[in-house]
């Protein structure tokens, strides 16, 4: 069947010049995939403004063909003949593209957009061509550099041109190109320059020396990007660990409850986000992008309420009995997991990033900072500040601190210790819920979500020093950065093991953690 189809297509293509020039779109629709690639390459070298709508339609996957291989472009569900030919006999089928063709289409669109009115479009096009320009486009780029009026676009174009000029016949042109490339921090320039160091490739000694200098420049810029990238990913991992652990820093750190159900509070926060998203999809699809903001209070109150209910019904009966608390909260965590599994199914649920949390900002050629991670770092700091204010600037916070330092004395002074316990546990759970909202934006939302964070959370709290918020913050960022420094050197698996070993050694030396409460503390 495929060979028959191929023969059919081949015969069509062979017939094409005989029949007539049917138009670009139909040429494309009738060609085989390698002929389509050749067509696209030709079009990239000789842009024609009239062809742009077709290329854009191709890029958006809107081009279809009927059985006669006449091409149609779909706009809002209606198929229009692309080359002014007659309407289709039957419903046309969308053209099948593969990744290679998509890449060539992007290049072709870019070379057509070099002729666009809008300088921003031309700039984007020039940047695309820096990555993917083909030698056939040399003449085109030369012409555009000469004609370009906007300085920024011309610079970008010159770079795209320089990539092609590295194999120019004239050593002077090559030399200029090599020097120009040295001023970029483009990772691709590095490979291109490296290949020139070989005397077999580059015969001219001056160009080779220039390439060496340029290469050193490029490498320095790349190194800066890499270091910044590592620092950022360390901060980002730290902020995630912090959000996961902050709730536990209250329930375990302050209240002393070995709370194995903490992970499930994260999970419930994430599922609250999912529910809010579903409600938005159903009732307010136009405001869908705002759902994470609404999910924050919802998740906080849902998890806080569940936390308080747990405290009142189970945990308060177990104060002072850490082993039983451990087992009871572990049991609760299993119950919550299975409950969610029954209600929502064992499958992960889909929590989509809104547009303002998708993509990233290109800071350097080899450094992209994803928006969701930037937002989560900011959010983690916001939650820390909020928690700190709650604990240090409010009556509730004062009571919590009093109860954790000396329960009996606080009770004597008239602090309602039972209620404070409940509220503090609720606060810890609620903050875990907020963490869950953030986690839903970077990972999976499934019944087992909490299980993968519980160990890390305990590590952070224990390392930071039980009972200290500042300790947890330091420990989270410290672990995040240490992890990201080790990972590229020894791999993710060994890195994790080494971190664990280091923490164990550290706890041997300093059982009280990084920060310890000074002075007299009960037990």
């Amino acid at each position: 069947m495929p060979t028959a189809l191929y023969r059919f297509l081949l015969s069509l293509v062979l017939l094409l010049p005989v029949i007539a020039h049917a138009g670009d779109a139909s040429d494309f629709a009738a060609a085989s995939s390698s002929q389509q690639a050749a067509l696209l390459e030709r079009w990239s070298a000789e842009p024609d403004a009239a062809r742009l709508p077709l290329l854009e339609a191709l890029q958006q996957g809107r081009v279809a063909a009927d059985s006669n291989k006449a091409a149609f472009i779909e706009t809002d569900g209606v198929y229009q003949p692309a080359d002014g030919t007659a309407a289709a006999a039957e419903a046309p089928r969308k053209l099948r593209l593969n990744n290679r063709l998509r890449g060539l289409i992007a290049t072709a669109v870019a070379s057509h957009q070099l002729l666009a009115e809008d300088p921003a479009l031309r700039l984007a096009a020039a940047q695309q061509l820096q990555k993917s320009a083909k030698p056939e486009q040399l003449a085109l780029l030369n012409a555009r550099v000469a004609a370009e009026e906007d300085d920024g676009v011309r610079d970008a174009l010159s770079l795209a041109l320089a990539n092609l000029q590295l194999v120019d016949n004239d050593p002077a042109v090559r030399l200029a190109a090599v020097r120009l490339l040295g001023e970029t921090g483009d990772p691709l320039a590095r490979t291109r320059l490296e290949s020139l160091l070989d005397p077999g490739v580059e015969s001219d000694a001056t160009v080779r020396t220039a390439a060496e200098t340029s290469l050193a420049q490029v490498k320095r810029k790349l190194l800066i990007g890499e270091l910044l990238g590592q620092a950022f990913s360390g901060l980002s991992l730290g902020s995630i660990l912090l959000l996961a652990a902050l709730g536990l820093a209250i329930t375990f750190g302050l209240l002393g409850v070995i709370n194995m159900a903490h992970g499930e509070m994260l999970m419930l926060g994430a599922y609250s986000t999912y529910m809010v998203q579903v409600l938005f999809q159903r009732f307010a699809p136009e405001a869908l992008a705002l759902y994470p903001l609404v999910a924050l209070p919802v998740a906080f109150f849902v998890t806080a309420a569940i936390g308080m209910a747990l405290e009142r019904t189970v945990i308060r009966h177990l104060y002072g009995r850490p082993l039983e608390t451990l087992l009871a909260t572990w049991g609760i965590s299993l119950i919550l997991i299975q409950l969610v599994r029954v209600l929502f199914g064992a499958q992960n649920v889909e929590v989509a990033n809104p547009y303002w949390l998708s993509g990233g900002i290109q800071v350097l050629p080899n450094l992209v900072l994803p928006y969701n991670r930037i937002v989560i770092i900011g959010f983690a700091l916001f939650v820390v500040v909020l928690t700190w204010l709650l604990l240090n600037k409010t009556r509730l916070g004062l009571n919590v601190r009093a109860v954790t330092q000396n329960r009996n004395m606080a009770a004597c002074c008239g602090v309602p210790t039972g209620r404070v316990d409940m509220l503090a546990f609720g606060l810890g759970s609620g903050i875990a819920g907020l963490g869950g909202v953030a986690l839903s934006q970077i990972g999976n939302v499934g019944p087992d979500l909490g299980q993968s964070y519980i160990i890390d959370s305990f590590l952070v709290v224990v390392l930071g020093g039980v009972g200290q918020l500042a300790g947890s913050v330091m420990a989270a960022f410290g672990l995040g950065i240490a992890n990201k420094i080790l990972e590229p050197q020894i791999g993710a698996v060994l890195g994790k093991i080494l971190i664990l070993a280091l923490i164990i050694l550290f706890i041997q030396k300093r059982p009280q953690g990084l920060f310890a409460l000074k002075g007299r503390v009960i037990d």
Binding site: A346, Q347, P370, N444
Partner: protein, 422 residues
């Protein structure tokens, strides 16, 4: 209050009616017991639960057509809870207490390795429905998933071809356990045999459930600056979501660096926002989107079954490759039992050789005459926005499995028929 007596009387009446119509089905021990050994809780529940349901659906389907050898099949479902040693225990229970004629089950290679000694010792029969790393051929197991040459190697050949982007450098990324390690060992040997230099192959592993892919994606980017790169992912299960999200957020598109995955199918994409994945590739032997009458019926039956049994999220259920392999396996076993005229393991094994079945993949699959593996077609699919795959390349005919990959040293001396491992 009124409903119960009514229910009871209807049940009694229908039982009477049935016993009149089918006098044989009600005789005690006149059913054939069939074991279903899939994790219904724990980390693997996400993947294995649907295989259990698919097995039950297939058994219902066979029963509705009159069962096997005139007897109804009776499913015995046990839950090994994603706990590898428990697989062996539950397997032993199925064979010695429930005396099942055959077992359909396991997903991870480590669970299969755990039950294998039990099935060899007690001469049981296991049908294993998942693509795996090969390096095994037990007379007590029929493998209905793909061996490496039926999935991994064709996928890499596609990436090397013009249409696949003519990749020159390969980034092998996997979860750290036996399947990715062995597959990558085979792929590395294969790539080197195709003239790819050592420095153009990078192998990276992450722990189970890894969720922070920042460093790895940054490394992929750095690696790709050295030439056209493709990523071959054997990342398992959940970790795929953060991996693909990170790729998209760092601005890597399928046109720049294609990622071909061996463990991402329709079921895994259900829990994912698929926008960032569009254009990424997966290699399997079946996709829900393949168009043929057998598959149309298979998908419709499955959707109807999910609704009727009220499975969670019944309106969005999908079929995938291991489900198809389960379906094919159960039907082939039923055919083999009919041919052998008995459920005796040794006779059924003989009858399985050369058994054929018109599968939902659109091909008539054959059980090999000696190596216990199916001949399967290989398909490469591209992820679409709706979480389905569109086939961009497929083999022209089913491929015979090579469980002992020629790319691993010493395998050329292994026999091409099944022998017990000890």
């Amino acid at each position: 209050m009124k409903r119960r007596p009514f229910l009871k009387s209807t049940l009694a009446a229908s039982a009477l009616l049935l016993s009149g119509l089918f006098p044989y089905t009600l005789h005690a021990a006149e059913t054939i017991k069939v074991g279903v050994l899939h994790s219904l809780s724990g980390t693997m529940a996400i993947s294995e639960t649907s295989l259990k349901d698919m097995a039950l659906m297939t058994i219902d389907e066979i029963n509705a057509k009159g069962g096997v050898l005139g007897k109804q099949l009776e499913a015995v479902v046990v839950d090994p809870a994603s706990n590898w040693p428990l697989f062996a225990e539950r397997g032993r229970q199925l064979l010695t207490q429930d005396k099942v004629a055959v077992t359909f089950g396991c997903w991870t290679s480590v669970s299969r390795k755990s039950v294998l000694p039990v099935y060899e010792e007690l001469n049981g029969l296991l049908f294993y429905p998942v693509q795996y790393e090969g390096e095994e051929m037990s007379p007590n197991v029929f493998y209905t998933g793909a061996a490496p040459n039926q999935q991994a190697i064709p996928a890499v050949e596609y990436l090397m071809s013009e249409d696949g982007g003519a990749a020159k450098r390969y980034f092998l990324l996997g979860t750290d356990y036996v399947y990715p390690r062995t597959t990558n060992k085979i792929l590395r040997a294969f790539l080197i045999s195709k003239g790819v230099a050592e420095k153009d192959i990078e192998e990276v592993y992450t722990p189970f459930g890894h969720s922070d892919y920042q460093t790895i994606v940054a490394n992929i980017k750095k690696f790709s600056a050295g030439g056209k790169t493709a990523v071959i992912s054997t990342v398992n299960g959940d970790s795929n979501v953060p991996f693909y999200k990170e790729l998209a957020n760092q601005g890597i598109e399928a046109t720049d660096i294609p990622v071909v995955a061996f463990s991402v199918g329709e079921e895994e994409l259900r829990g994912i926002d698929t926008k960032p994945l569009v254009g990424q590739l997966a290699a399997w032997n079946y996709f829900q989107s393949v168009e043929n009458p057998v598959n149309t019926k298979f998908v419709a039956d499955w959707k109807a079954y999910a609704k009727a049994k009220n499975l969670p999220n019944a309106d969005t259920v999908v079929t995938n490759d291991p489900m198809e392999a389960t379906y094919v396996g159960i039907h082939m076993w039923a055919q083999a039992v009919e041919k052998a005229g008995t459920t005796d393991v040794d006779k059924v094994r003989e009858a399985m050789y050369g058994q054929t079945f018109a599968a939902p993949s659109g091909y008539t699959l054959t059980m090999d005459k000696s190596n216990h593996h199916l001949h399967k077609p290989v398909m490469i699919g591209e992820v679409q926005e709706d979480g389905q795959f569109e086939v961009v390349w497929e083999t022209s005919s089913p491929v015979r499995a090579q469980p002992w990959s020629p790319y691993i040293e010493g395998n050329d001396k292994k026999p091409d028929y099944a022998v017990k491992s000890n």
